[in-house]
């Protein structure tokens, strides 16, 4: 692909994004709640699109296409298991989180935890934990953009990631959540349209029709249609951490606070559900089609690039922009969420801090966290990939505390110990690469943090003893 063509399309996309972001800035009101959660006034469409764009990163068009190429529909099973669980969790938890966020004036999901468990320490621990897990994950997105620009247009890696940094800071810094949500809506529309056109082109030019594609798949590569292509332990190990993503990852759980009313919340869940199903279907079928057309690709991460080398340049450019858009929309949401958590759950809890200082601090945190992820990407540390893989499993340690919000006997000590126990388990198992009984760290994290949460909560629950005391005193 010509460098000038890539730069031209990239520039058009960036300028459109900047215009949207500038308009969002002009519409922006005052205060921390306005900057970080758009004052809970997002419509259903914008909320659904920002939820989708935040959830689905470049992993879909690069990682999942390659995964489907390698292991067939097991990849679809893993991704749809995530979607099924997320739809169910949102159905149950989103209305409750939305109402509680409004009632207790919560800006971050960690603030909800702090208020429920009456513990500022819990909010600080979860914020630090999220920073440790999500900064490396963000740097992988930077790395992805850097390699993509280098591979497709010959733009040096360092220039590529610097461009990514500028785009991300521009979209986030100016207008806060309103800007992120509106630019995310643009990104998600690009993502879905580009992927639909690409799939149609690949199927129609490669097989003539979907019927022929399914026929070829079933006759020539029946092994790809087996759910057993991936080991069952790996399937469980990959699926379980993602099943609770909607609750454990602050960049998505914070989005439950955004809709302006219950109808918008409902539309957010419905919109995201269909986006997820369609996008997953497209991405997996691209991988399966690639296996039928180019059966000998050795590096699965290069499958998408191989497809793009065989489609018209204009289509390849749009898909390239859609992959960059997926990365940018994920990173800017994470940056904004982490900034809000640092502001509300750490800075805001320092005694004698003037509330008016919170917003400038939060705005300053945006470039700070972005530059931190950039530095990680710049160093290309070998451990980054492992840390980012660890992030979904590590954040799973917070799931019992979030679910336990609605359990009467849950205690702050139970919540804190479960997060520390689950997090430590994941770090130890990933660093030693020891998987007891062949089960992945995410599974062990889920078991240990849940058991710790229940047992410690029951052990430290004073409500029953207090009520007995009250009865005795009354007598």
């Amino acid at each position: 692909m010509k460098t000038s063509a890539v730069v031209f399309v990239f520039a058009i996309w960036f300028v459109i994004g900047c215009l949207i972001s500038y308009y969002a800035k002009k519409k922006r009101g005052k205060g921390v709640a306005e900057y970080f959660i758009a004052n809970r006034k997002l419509g259903g469409f914008a909320a659904a699109m920002t939820y989708s764009a935040t959830t689905y990163s470049a992993f879909m068009m690069v990682g999942l296409v390659g995964m489907a190429y390698a292991v067939g529909i097991s990849a679809m099973g893993f991704e749809l298991t995530y979607l099924i669980s997320t739809v169910l969790l949102l159905t149950y938890f989103a209305p409750k989180f939305w109402a509680m966020g409004k009632q207790y004036n919560c800006i971050t999901p960690t603030e909800l935890l702090s208020k429920r468990y009456k513990s500022n320490l819990l909010g600080i621990i979860v914020t630090v934990f999220a920073l440790i897990m999500l900064v490396p994950y963000m740097s992988v997105q930077f790395t992805g953009i850097g390699y993509l620009l280098q591979g497709l247009a010959g733009i040096p890696y360092i220039v590529g990631i610097t461009i990514a940094l500028i785009v991300i800071i521009t979209y986030t810094f100016w207008g806060g959540m309103r800007s992120v949500a509106w630019t995310d809506a643009l990104q998600s529309v690009i993502m879905i349209i580009a992927s639909i056109v690409l799939l149609l082109y690949v199927i129609l030019s490669g097989f003539g029709s979907f019927g022929n594609f399914f026929g070829t798949l079933q006759n020539s590569h029946p092994e790809l249609l087996s759910a057993k292509n991936m080991s069952y332990q790996k399937f469980i190990g990959l699926s379980i951490p993602w099943m609770f993503f909607a609750l454990t990852n602050p960049q998505v759980s914070q989005r439950m606070f955004l809709p302006k009313d219950k109808k918008s919340l409902k539309n957010m869940v419905i919109g995201f559900s269909f986006f997820g199903l369609i996008y997953t279907f497209i991405v997996v079928n691209l991988g399966l089609a690639a296996k039928c057309i180019f059966p000998n690709i050795l590096k699965t991460d290069t499958v998408t690039m191989e497809i793009l080398n065989h489609v018209p340049t204009a289509l390849a450019l749009i898909v390239f922009i859609s992959i960059v858009a997926a990365s940018v929309s994920t990173v800017d949401s994470i940056i904004l969420s982490l900034s809000s958590m640092c502001t509300v759950d750490i800075f805001g809890k320092i005694p004698k801090i003037n509330k008016e200082k919170q917003l400038p601090f939060g705005v300053l945190m945006v470039p700070t966290i972005a530059i931190l992820a950039f530095i990680f990407a710049l160093g290309r540390f070998g451990a980054i990939v492992e840390l980012s893989v660890m992030s979904s499993a590590g954040l799973l340690a917070t799931a019992p505390a979030y679910i336990g919000i609605f359990w009467k006997r849950a205690t702050k000590i139970g919540a804190i110990t479960s997060i520390l126990a689950g997090g430590t388990t994941v770090i130890i198992l990933y660093s030693t690469k020891y998987f007891p009984l062949g089960m992945w760290p995410g599974v062990w994290c889920a078991i240990i943090s849940t058991l710790t949460f229940i047992l410690v909560s029951l052990g430290t629950d004073r409500s029953k003893q207090q009520s007995k005391k009250e009865v005795l005193l009354n007598e």
Partner: protein
Amino acid sequence: MKNAYAKEKKFLAVYLVIVALDFTVPFLLPHKITGAYLFWIILTIITILYGIFSIGRQA
């Protein structure tokens, strides 16, 4: 209070049944388009329809 408890029990039951189906049935189906491929898509659509119905009532 009783109503909330019943809702929680119902959610947990639905969640466990769907996840149990998701983790077992596809691994028993033949290597065909009408096997695990179609099953996972249909299960997702059923879940989404359940979600729309359920959240619609709450909203």
